[in-house]
Amino acid sequence: MQFNAEAMERKISRRKFITKTSKYTAAMAGLASMPGMAVSSIFEEDADIGIVNGTDYYSNTMRAIELIGGINKYVPQGSTVGLLINSDFEVEGAYVNPDIALATIQLINDAGADSITCIQKVKPEYWQRSAHFESHKKILDTLMQVETNTFPSEFNDTDFIKVKQVKGWKSLKETEVVKKWLECDVFINIAISKHHATTLMTGALKNIMGVSTRKANVNFHLGSGERNNPIYLAQCIVDQYMLKKTGLCIIDSTTFITDNGPSGPGTLKTLNKIVAGTDIVAIDALTSEYLDYLPEEITTTLKAHESGLGDMDYSKLNIVEINA
């Protein structure tokens, strides 16, 4: 699949994008906060990507998911859910705001999921950073975790599986991934759009490195024979992503670092945006612009697009953006 940047630019200049979304913004200004009013009910069809602007991150996460059809569209009753949250950093703007993760967990629970498993271990102090922590203790107690998938994770037969020579892989020869990631009915990827020195941006695609062992990830960096070949690294991420489709993706673009990533500290940018959708290539393309990159500058996005895993020309999608 070839990406035509100029065509995309013609189709969706910034002004056109805002025009397209402003009617929804206007409609939502009065309706979004009305009790009992489902956000999606005022639109003819579900959005492909929902964006909610505002500072109540907990409620806005729920609204963003509602814009794309509501949680029941993605999490059938009785399903097993695998959750990957970019949580393991200590500096603000380097990790997903816990309010966003808690709101998603609440929705999954309300949808009647059989189980929710954190594919990568989330430390207790992460949840404690949220003002909603106390009111969600019960749900958090029911969460399962892949305890051994914590940095620097090592392979073990119980939690990990070796995957070799998958058809369609271009760079990866072998990887070691969490079994529960492959086994879950619904995979939900909760990432943050932030700077990364090697890949320029950590978004939904880069977050996929959270499902593999450290040894596998180091191979992404060094396996080409040339240290930190960005193209090899990006293709390995894309190859690994091919193993499991993302059922739902939430991106934290509320406050994020725009340099010195992925761990920071860095320059913070606040946009107060929460983005939800299923095409993580389109979502990464869209959110890379929040960091002043062009979608094609992010090699993971470009490689995933070329591999047919999504469409970085997000202008083809129905994007609904509202101010809460």
Partner: protein, 305 residues
């Protein structure tokens, strides 16, 4: 012959191992002595990581340390009776410039300068120090009365043990421009560090030996240094071509031997080559940038005769 070859190989392996062990003991010796720690005690024993093992220590971001020239890191955690924790990291880089570079890359405008080591900053809950070929970071888990003093005592004791004195890389002094109060100074040695500072567009500026950048007022200056004038010419021509065609920049104008472009915010980027360097002034149009470029060129001639 085979036996001599094998014995030689064993000797090399043994020498490498011995050197590694010696080096490891040396860096561990930089850790603070117990008399400095007061009521803080070691929580976990110190750990040392060498070369590419850094990937097992840093979760994201090891690449840039390796690009600068990383040798080893010793890390140790301490706790006090109030269950507060201090995390100490001493990075030993391959040379002084590499340690200075990683220090500048980690520094932010929020830092308060301290009189410690070659350069140091105090932040809300951590301290960064550069001395010689070492970069030291000492982090407190939570604020506590008197804990900042402990951080300072710990870092001071490490600084006292580092025998190497370091000078700021020569290239930094190219930015010594009259009346310019420089901030956010960054010393870079490769593409990953540059990506951390500013993205000129993928591959637009590459293959430089070293670079320096700093902000002053609304302006931002970059100087890229190449091996020699021939190399610089080749890469400057490449940068010119790439930035001309890059979707991120508009209004390309070729002027004399340099060029200008604008970003989406309408900010002008002026590029000018000189000897084995090329200079970038952001926030100044071509005419305004000339006096800055002239001062930089004078500094280049003085520093690199």
């Amino acid at each position: 012959m085979k036996r001599i070859y094998f014995t030689g190989l064993l000797l090399i392996v043994f020498m490498s191992f011995s050197r590694g062990l010696y080096a490891q003991q040396e860096i561990i010796k930089l850790l603070p002595d117990s008399d400095v720690l007061g009521n803080w005690t070691i929580q976990d024993s110190a750990e040392t990581y060498h070369d590419e093992d850094l990937y097992l220590y840093i979760n994201g971001g090891a690449d840039v340390y390796l690009e600068y020239g990383f040798e080893k890191v010793v890390t140790c955690r301490y706790k006090n009776p109030a269950a507060n924790r201090i995390h100490l990291e001493i990075y030993q880089m391959k040379d002084i410039d590499a340690a200075y570079g990683i220090f500048t890359l980690n520094s932010t405008f929020k830092g308060q300068p301290m009189d410690l080591g070659g350069l140091s900053y105090r932040y809300d809950h951590y301290m960064d120090v550069w001395k010689g070929n070492c970069f030291i970071r000492c982090t407190l888990t939570r604020k506590e009365e008197g804990a900042q003093d402990t951080l300072k005592m710990i870092t001071q004791s490490i600084v006292d043990k580092i025998e190497i004195e370091g000078k700021i890389p020569l290239i930094k002094h190219i930015l010594d421009i009259e009346g310019a109060e420089l901030r956010d100074i960054k010393y870079m040695r490769g593409q990953i560090a540059l990506n951390n500072v500013y993205n000129f567009g993928h591959g637009s500026i590459a293959a430089f030996d070293e670079a320096i950048s700093a902000k002053t007022g609304d302006q931002w200056y970059f100087v890229f240094k190449y091996d020699d004038d021939r190399n610089r010419r080749e890469w400057f021509a490449s940068a010119k071509g790439k930035m001309h065609s890059h979707r991120k920049f508009t209004d390309f104008v070729a002027i004399e031997d340099g060029f200008t472009v604008k970003d989406k915010y309408g900010k002008t980027f002026s590029f000018k080559p000189y000897r084995q360097f090329f200079m970038v002034a952001i926030g100044l149009d071509w005419n305004e940038a000339q006096s800055v470029f002239e001062q930089m060129q004078t500094n280049m001639d003085r520093l690199y005769p």
